[in-house]
Amino acid sequence: MSDRVLTRRDFMRGTVGAMVGGSVVGAEPLGASTRAPRPPRSAEVVVVRDQKALNASHDVDVTVLREMLSETIARLTGKASARAGWQAMIKPADLVGLVPTDHLNPTHDEVVEAVRAQLIDAGIPAGRIKNAQGGPDNARPCTALIALPALKAHWLTGMGTVLKLYILYSGHPSRYHGENNVNLGEIWNLPDVKGKTRLVLVDALRPLCDKGPQPDPRYLWDYKGLIAGTDPVAVEAIGLKIIMARRQALRGEPWPLSPPPLSLAAADEKFGLGTSRLSEIKVQTYGWSQDTLL
């Protein structure tokens, strides 16, 4: 992506990434093949859902959630158990920072606590697990970060999920508001952050598909899922796909996401964080299959 002024016309030409372009126009852009050249990448994303994860009042069934988390970790790591999966990702010597969305449609506390409990079960001392959301001082001492964002659309940035999660680590969040949100991916390459994220686990129990981050219950729905991967861009791309599909289902016609999540293509093509190309992402889905939106 170049630094010149991006307009709607660039998206129509498909020069900003097919996934992002599609979010603007509601369909595949005209020239999706004209994206910036780069070496091929690959990523794997696991989606686990359970119809019983939430009750009719949208309260979390903690027992069901723990089982979903166990399956997610085992499937993602290819290990026989969640414990073995966690042990492959995190070592007892690590200082682990859990990074949830803490404000306006936050990550469910139950998700954060389930992760903490499984880490302890996997042999990580409780004292070496902390909530690391906040300024760069919170990330600095951590040797491992677990990103725990909630899935939501965002009225300023298109998506307000994975890539935006670390905005406070920049120390200057206002620099990433407005048009500069395209550069959210660079935060993941800051010295206090780079290379530390061992897992991206998205709370998709009850996502928000429009008007975020302020809660508007008309756009919340019970997806009852967890989305996980180690490539933050790929996980964001799958979250975006789900959000866009939900929007189309609500309106009965394409309902473009506006503004487009500029940071997604930039995280791929400008900052090299991972892949936003669906052709390079292998998605595995498990559990409740109704309205998977994938």
């Binding site: 709607r8 965002h154 048009e179 302020q214 809660p215 503004p259």
Partner: protein, 307 residues
Amino acid sequence: MDLPRTFGPWTRSDRSRRIDARSIFGYMDGAGELYLAYGFDHLDVVEYGSADQGSILVELYWMRTPADAFGLLSGDWGGEPVGLQAEAASTTSASPVPPHRALYGAGLLRLWSDTLYARVLASRETAASREQVLAIGRTIVAGRKEASYPALISALPRASGPAYRLLPGRTTYLRSHLVLNSAYFLSAENILDLDVTSEAVLATYESSVPAPPRHQVRLLLVRYRDEATARAAAARFRDAYFPETRKRADHGTGPSSALQHVEDGWAGYQQKGRCLAAAFEVQDSDLARTFVRRALEELARLEAAHE
């Protein structure tokens, strides 16, 4: 505004919060920009709690003008219209915007009353919480005057060409490119130089050809604080969105207008005085010219009437 202490089983906490432009990001990180994109004065927050039926959050956004409060409601005309008091006489079924001043959906009531925009949100939607959310809404608007919608809205042609009609539920009033982009993405940057001293309205027109998918055209009207600002904005817009026309314009009319076939159809704009009209996704050049011309005629009428 002094709200009653109780609504049914919900009781207000003694403490209410006053949020201003400096503290709004502490209250709603990532959402405060929406309110600052209009003329925001301050926000009062009151929370009602109950023993076992969840909470009701009341947010009262005090804006500088009725137009600013209207703009916030116009960002989303979805939801169930609810009558909290008699609808204003100026809003009719032929209006370019829906006549509603309060909309309810899934536990959230949004309303516009003069310079006030309010959100009343039940944490759990039940018949009881809906009843009290609406009761709070009625209390908020009681005795308040009903302002007319912004005059700029009336400059929207009701129809354009023989086969296009305005969709009132898709009309958004705004002052900021951030809000414009959340309704219709044009550019990552502020290529129309919008700010709180300007006002704009984005409208959608749909083809009446019966076969789906029905074609839609977007029309954007902008009124700047003065002609010099409008002229500079038109030049920037031309350079960013219609760079192909720059050479032509340098030898002709300057940056005050452009018409070009772009990736998603014909697009064009014209600036006249302190006003600018732009049309997007139009099927042919004649229709694009018609949209812009008719909008400018209406804007000229508005300016002549000093509205």
